[in-house]
């Protein structure tokens, strides 16, 4: 049963030692009550308190890291079913599966592909996060060698040991224990041995079973054996199973407080058709996967998957913003028109798209308005004549163009007078109110 912050507070040491990262024990208790943090964060909590608070203080979905170091990926910790309710927090990790039976050259090539997969999109650095190394050779020595090689060539990637043979997994874990690899997977057959390895080396363990009933029995067993950092593999194969299982797992954890399924989810989406593999991966990303295993990571595929993941994990309450600068659309000359708008990403995408449609090469000045749309930014005092004038002066655009004409959005026509006062020598032209009128507007100027 859920306890309030004050109820939990009674069981804490009340030393305000700050070791948990909170200024006071009460603040920590409040956060515990909301399921945002785990009780273990308190180093001094008594055994008695652990027993009493136990499950009540654990977050509904356990949070831990895949991998180690700067590029470790946080898994779990989600609190809602729908992204419009509240942000999804910890973006799904993308992993490529590599068989240990490949030649050294192929292993290196794949590992390097992951190591160089980083892309920059809307100011975020995005990458393939992990490599799953599959025990296909059935030869422990070869597996160990392949794991060592791949880990070396992709030093930042998290490693998933895709191996159900406990002896082979243990040998591989030893080689890269510092990288905190995920063992994939414990099953009903090998649970005892795998739990022992995970515990000894302090690494997370994926529980793999067919269906959610068998899976929850398995995670209870693993927890009984002392493993807490668990990832769930329900054996979901088709897109339908992925969607149904992931939904049921998320609901069980969040709405029913069902602890045996309160863990991050892994989906394997390998398909022969690479574009289909991408769309199936997108089902998993949109609906609650924490790790998705793919068979290939072509550049185009990385781009679509990174972008989709970014879209799904965008905070619905914080508008996406684009960088403040003057964007060239087409190949503008010194005579090309200069327009201005705000940096709300949707505004930017729509306005720049319509300018592109006009086929009139132009410059679009995008001003930082904290991600607000034109009218909202104006109303909030973030898109004012003074600020626009300052931005235009600071941008150095005057040195690049021959004319001094600025086209402002029709919705803020009211600013034109004040802008002419503040931007000396400039002509301010009022553009269309709606972006879809931009092509006609720009073409009309050329004619």
């Amino acid at each position: 049963m859920a306890l309030t912050g004050v109820q939990i507070f009674k069981f804490l040491p009340k030393t305000n030692c700050k070791k948990c990262g909170f200024p006071t024990c009460l603040a920590f208790a409040m956060s515990l009550a909301q399921g945002k943090i785990a009780l273990e964060k308190c180093p001094d909590v008594s055994e008695e308190a652990k027993k009493t608070l136990g499950e009540a203080s654990a977050p509904p979905i356990r949070t831990f890291a895949l991998g180690a170091g700067d590029t470790a990926v946080k898994l779990g910790g989600e609190t809602v079913l729908f992204r419009h309710d509240k942000k999804f927090f910890n973006p799904c990790a993308l992993a490529i599966n590599i068989k240990d039976s490949l030649s050294d050259d192929e292993l290196v090539k794949n590992a390097t592909g992951v190591a160089t997969s980083e892309l920059n999109r809307v100011g975020q650095k995005l990458r393939v996060d992990a490599i799953s190394i599959e025990y296909a050779s059935n030869n422990s020595a070869q597996y160990e060698k392949a794991v060592k090689l791949v880990a070396e060539k992709a030093p930042a990637a998290a490693i998933i040991l895709n191996c159900k043979d406990a002896a082979a997994a243990e040998a591989a874990v030893k080689v890269i224990a510092a990288r905190k690899p995920l063992i994939y997977a414990a099953t009903n057959e090998n649970a005892d041995a795998m739990a022992k390895i995970a515990k000894t080396h302090g690494v997370p363990l994926c529980a793999s079973a067919q269906g959610l009933e068998a899976l929850s029995a398995l995670t209870e067993k693993l927890q009984g054996l002392g493993v807490n950092d668990i990832v769930l593999d329900s054996g979901a194969n088709s897109a339908k199973e992925i969607l149904e299982h992931n939904t049921q797992i998320r609901r069980s954890a969040l709405k029913k407080g069902f602890k045996p399924l309160g863990f991050p989810v892994l989906n394997c989406v390998i398909r022969e058709d690479s574009i289909l593999e991408a769309t199936i991966a997108s089902v998993a990303i949109a609906k609650y996967a924490s790790i998705v295993i793919l068979s290939s990571i072509e550049k185009w595929k990385n781009l679509v998957l990174f972008t989709l993941r970014q879209n799904i994990y965008t905070d619905p309450q914080v508008p996406m913003q684009v960088e403040q600068k003057i964007y060239n659309i087409g190949e503008p000359t010194a005579e090309s028109p200069l327009m201005i708008t705000t940096n709300f990403s949707l505004t930017y995408f729509i306005v720049s798209g319509e300018i592109e449609n006009s086929k009139v090469p132009s410059r679009l000045a995008v001003m930082d308005s904290e991600g607000l749309s034109v009218l909202t930014a104006w109303a909030a005092g973030k898109f004012t004549a003074a600020k626009i004038a300052q931005f235009i002066k600071d941008s150095g655009i005057e040195g690049q163009i021959k004319h001094k004409e600025l086209i402002i959005p029709g919705q803020v026509a009211i600013l034109s007078g004040a802008l002419e006062d503040k931007l000396e020598g400039w002509k301010i032209t009022v553009g269309p109110r709606e972006a879809n009128a931009i092509p006609t507007f720009l073409k009309g100027r050329v004619a």
Binding site: F82, I280, V304
Partner: protein, 313 residues
């Protein structure tokens, strides 16, 4: 602890809308659970994908998708037949691009003739789309609705600025109607209410909450669609129960990622796959959010989404 499947029962239901005629007619909607969650409800119909064609050659489409139709896109009748006969399209969406004042500014009568020609040539259901010019659509779609009388088409799009004449025409000629608003659940609801207040049956409506391409606001469309679904199913809000349309192709095939050449952005990989995947991923996001009807362009993207739908059902 024993595991119990967490099922949710919905008090509402997505309306079942049919379009087209004869044995090629189609149904969309009709589910009483969230998308593809058939363990807790009944899903009457799969999402339908319509192939988009235009009344003039698609010179402004990127090469990747223009080339897929290069032998047939010179004429809408040939193009429509190709989609139906060779690509096995289940439905066709004809966009009357030429009527836009900035394009060829063709007349409503011209558009009506094109509609008649296409309808006589094909058997699969037809979706008739204007050029998205508010004033012009108000006359073009009226003529189109009359020309298509008796074919049970889907006509669109009625928007806040022009819905009255279009609704009247759809009503008079017994068509289904797309109501489009701009990425806001309240605007979508309000437009559906205005249209039904004119005596138009809500069971003939399709909601288009506006599509955004992957990377260009897909998250907004995705959440608006999810919220429309939840309102219709969980709160039994009757104005939020029409099937949802995702007009994917026209938004996808103009973004940089589907157009930029490999030499400009080598880090983005091959252009052909990039464009096709962009359309397929955008569409997949939408069916997961609740879209019942998709309008798409590239045959390979459509094939991929069909396979995805098959795996989801």
């Amino acid at each position: 602890m024993s595991y119990v499947v967490p099922k949710e029962s919905c008090s509402g239901k997505v309306l079942n809308v049919d379009f087209g005629k004869g044995d090629k007619a189609l149904n969309i909607g009709g589910e009483n659970c969230l998308p593809f969650l058939s363990f807790e409800g009944e899903i009457l119909n799969r999402p339908v994908i319509a192939y988009e064609i235009q009344d003039i050659p698609p010179v402004d489409w990127p090469d990747t998708v223009q080339n897929a139709y290069k032998d047939v896109s010179g004429d809408p009748v040939t193009w429509a037949k190709y989609c139906q006969n060779e690509l096995k399209a289940k439905a066709i969406a004809l966009r009357l691009v030429s009527t836009h004042p900035d394009r060829d500014n063709r007349s409503a009568e011209d558009a009506a003739k094109t509609i008649k020609d296409v309808l006589t040539a094909i058997e699969v259901p037809l979706i008739i789309l204007g050029s998205n010019h508010i004033e012009k659509d108000a006359t073009v779609l009226v003529a189109a609705a009359e020309a298509a009388s008796g074919y049970n088409c889907i006509i669109g799009k009625a928007q806040e600025g022009n819905y009255k004449t279009i609704v009247a025409a759809a009503l008079a000629h017994n068509h289904k109607l797309i109501a489009m608003s701009e990425l806001d659940i309240n605007l979508a609801k309000q437009l559906n209410i205005l249209i039904t207040q004119m005596g138009f049956d809500k069971e003939k409506l399709i909601t288009d909450p506006m599509c955004s391409a992957l990377g260009y606001g897909l998250e907004y469309t995705y959440s608006v669609m999810e919220r429309i679904r939840l309102a219709g199913l969980m709160q039994n809000d009757a104005t939020m129960q029409p099937p949802i349309l995702g007009d994917v192709g026209m938004y996808v095939w103009k973004v940089k990622e589907t157009v930029a050449s490999e030499s400009d952005v080598p880090e983005w990989g091959t252009l052909a796959e990039r464009g096709i995947a962009w359309e397929a991923m955008t569409a997949t996001g939408m069916i997961i959010a609740g879209t019942n009807l998709l309008i798409m362009r590239h045959p390979k993207a459509i094939e991929t989404v069909e396979k995805t739908i098959a795996e989801l059902t």
